[in-house]
């Protein structure tokens, strides 16, 4: 019987076989990820070389630049005197040993710099993405259910405004309003001067302070996080509102939603179980895209809020043509993208039973 065989296979898939198939899938994706990372180093390396400008000029003082010996010493120290392919191969060789090179600016290993800056960025991006998804989904659904009415119009205008507001301007405006005028927010940075960072566990001050039981430090850290998170969330929320609204509008026309109402289910059940579930795959896709754009947004927001995160590090390294640091940031961003994409593909399989990962 066809039905029986189909069911048999599906039931098997959802139990023991599923787990090993999933493991194989993840392993294969990770192998691909390694190739992607290698590719991104090549692209990153080539792009850094293609940028006009001379790291020697960017890093040495005018006086040192006048001294041929100093210039030669600098070039020899950073391997700039070797042919490009050799430079790249040397970089790869070090990379395989976990050595991302040394930053020309800070003089510290790039890896150590990243480990300092990445948690600061995560501390902004994680709350911001959660806030955006919750708000974006709720507001987008509200607008879809009120299509064409005043509430919907207001949401659409608001979303357009949010989308078209430049983030750096919004950051400055938010600082002006909440710090200068209202005085309810601190003026950038991760902690107020009277506090010292909590003992490092995750590198995220708010979390580490909680773990160390330093409630006052945690509260201070949260206050510092609030404003940049808010600014980062505006664009992402607006993007999600628009996508969720159109996704939900599409689902609303489906027979199975009419069928859910016809079954006499309470409206809340229809909305949360039937409507939201049907839009979930699309919402996951949009969230991953929004996450990518948010990462880009951190560059501007972090510099305005003097937030020592990856964005700020990327900005500083790019200004100084600090090649090892730039490549390190490239690698980090590539890794984030790869992880997010893998997570999204795995979530698809959870959200939609029709999707089978192979």
């Amino acid at each position: 019987m066809l039905l029986r065989s189909v069911l048999h296979r599906s039931v098997l898939h959802r139990s023991a076989v599923l787990r090993s198939a999933l493991l194989r899938y993840v392993l294969r994706r990770l192998a691909i990820a390694a190739g992607l990372l290698l590719g991104s180093t090549l692209v990153g390396f080539a792009l850094v070389q293609a940028v006009p400008g001379d790291p020697v000029a960017a890093n040495l003082s005018d006086q040192a630049l006048g001294d041929p010996a100093a210039v030669a010493a600098f070039r020899a120290k950073w391997g700039l005197d070797r042919p490009l392919p050799m430079q790249y191969l040397a970089y790869l060789g070090n990379l395989l040993q976990g050595d991302l090179g040394t930053s020309q600016q800070t003089g510290r290993p790039v890896l150590a710099d990243l480990l300092d800056h990445v948690p600061a960025t995560i501390e902004l991006v994680l709350p911001a993405i959660v806030l955006s998804v919750v708000l974006g989904t709720a507001i987008g659904m509200y607008a879809a259910l009120r299509q064409g009415r005043a509430g919907d119009q207001a949401v659409r205008v608001g979303a357009l405004l949010g989308l078209s507001t430049p983030q750096f301007w919004l950051s400055v405006l938010a600082l002006y309003l909440f710090f200068y005028v209202l005085g309810v927010s601190p003026n950038g940075g991760r902690l107020s001067p009277q506090f010292s960072p909590p003992p490092r566990v995750t590198g995220m001050y708010s979390l580490d302070a909680l773990l160390a039981g330093q409630l006052d430090v945690a509260w201070d850290a949260v206050q510092h996080i609030a404003l940049p998170v808010l600014v980062l969330s505006v664009v992402t929320t607006a993007t999600l509102v628009r996508f969720v609204r159109s996704a939900i509008l599409e689902v609303l026309r489906k027979d199975y939603i009419a069928a859910a109402y016809a079954k006499g289910l309470p409206a809340r059940t229809v909305l949360l179980r039937h409507l939201l579930r049907a839009g979930l795959v699309q919402i996951i896709t949009m969230t991953s895209l929004a996450f990518a754009s948010m990462l880009a947004g951190t560059v501007l927001v972090e510099s305005v809020f003097s937030w020592p995160g990856v964005g700020e590090y990327a900005y500083a390294s790019a200004s100084a043509l600090d090649r090892p640091a730039i490549l390190g940031v490239c690698l980090f961003v590539a890794a984030v993208y790869i992880v997010v994409n893998l997570a999204v593909d795995l979530l698809y399989g959870v959200a939609d039973p029709r999707i089978r990962l192979t």
Partner: protein, 334 residues
């Protein structure tokens, strides 16, 4: 079996009187249904036939209280003696599913693709009947057996994409029956299915009628399907009923030119198919006078001036022939 007080002797489930529905359009109200009067009893399959846009599906939506926002409803819809339009939101919600249930045209679209069959069979059962999860699952298995889906226990854990259209329609019927409704509205339930599968679904509906005393409103564009199925039939055109009566007589000797044209448009047994000239109009586009007049072969001048009303033989309604035609009116008027 708990005894429910019968209000009228033949266990009349549904009585719709002079139902009219208008929707809000960009240029004022748009009539969708005009003066619809129909009834259905327990253990009876009643056919509703008409072309798309004739208001068949809107009748179903009006009964369920699922009309689009801004719809205006007048007339009465009595279900088990209660006027549906007087019920509040909770009351309507209780009638949906537990009183009147619906089966949709395309079963692949009417079941949620991401929710398990078990969830879709039991969620409203639990809301309406207040049964436990375990009891609901047990009843779901019984329902699947009843609609002749094998391996019921496994089916509950499966998802819609794992089944064929015919199987899905059986599952959809099981889901519609889950909260023990008395009236089932089947909106073209076989149109999207293969011909061979159609017969099985029709037989299933007939057996549910006979075994459970279920009342069925069978909506279709195909008069032929009704021949073996429906005891009585209503023919819709442009948002109103143009002819009604016991199905056998109606099909054998149709009175309204539209009914006749519909039957002739079905090519059967090598007969020449005669399509109806012109195109169907909906209630909003209907001309003054008889809405079918522009396409009618028997049209007379008066047809374009005054609108015919549905008149019944002997002035009685139930079970009688009736037609809304000035030319081929009721008994002896021809």
């Amino acid at each position: 079996m708990p005894t429910t007080p019968d209000t009228s002797p033949p266990a009349e489930l549904l009585r719709v009187e002079r139902l009219a529905v208008t929707l809000r359009g960009p240029r004022g109200p748009v009539p969708i249904l005009t003066d619809v009067t129909l009834s259905a009893s327990a253990g009876e399959i009643v056919g509703i036939a008409g072309e798309s846009g004739s208001g068949k599906s809107m009748t179903a939506r009006a009964l369920l209280g699922l009309l689009p926002r801004g719809a205006e409803v007048s007339g009465t819809m009595l279900f088990q003696g209660r006027d549906l339009s007087t019920l509040d939101r909770r009351g309507r919600q209780r009638v949906r599913g537990a009183g009147i249930a619906m089966v949709f045209q395309d079963p692949t679209a009417a079941l949620h693709p991401m929710l398990s069959i078990g969830r879709q069979l039991t969620e409203h059962m639990r809301a309406h009947l207040g049964v436990s999860r375990r009891e609901a699952a047990k009843r779901a298995v019984e329902l699947l057996d009843q609609v002749r889906i094998p391996n019921a226990a496994k089916v509950l854990r499966a998802y819609p994409h794992q089944f064929s259209g015919g199987q899905l329609q059986r599952i959809a019927i099981a889901s519609a029956l889950a909260a023990r409704p008395r009236l089932l509205i089947a909106d073209e339930p076989t149109t999207a299915l293969d011909v061979t599968v159609q017969a099985g679904i029709l037989a299933l509906l007939e057996s549910l009628r006979a075994e459970m005393g279920l009342g069925v409103l069978f909506v279709t564009h195909d008069l032929g399907v009704l021949a073996a199925l429906a005891s009585r039939t209503y023919v819709y055109y442009a948002g109103r009923i143009v002819e009604t009566g016991p199905t056998a007589g109606l099909l054998r000797a149709p009175r309204h030119p539209y009914t006749r044209a519909l039957l002739e448009a079905r090519a059967e047994d090598g007969a020449v198919m005669r399509p109806i000239a012109g195109r169907p109009v909906n209630a909003a586009e209907a001309p003054p006078g008889c809405p079918f007049a522009p396409r009618c072969p028997d049209r007379e001048d008066r047809c374009e001036k005054s609108a015919p009303v549905l008149a019944y033989d002997d002035g009685e309604r139930d079970g009688r022939r009736g037609s809304a035609c000035l030319v081929h009116g009721t008994g002896g008027a021809r």
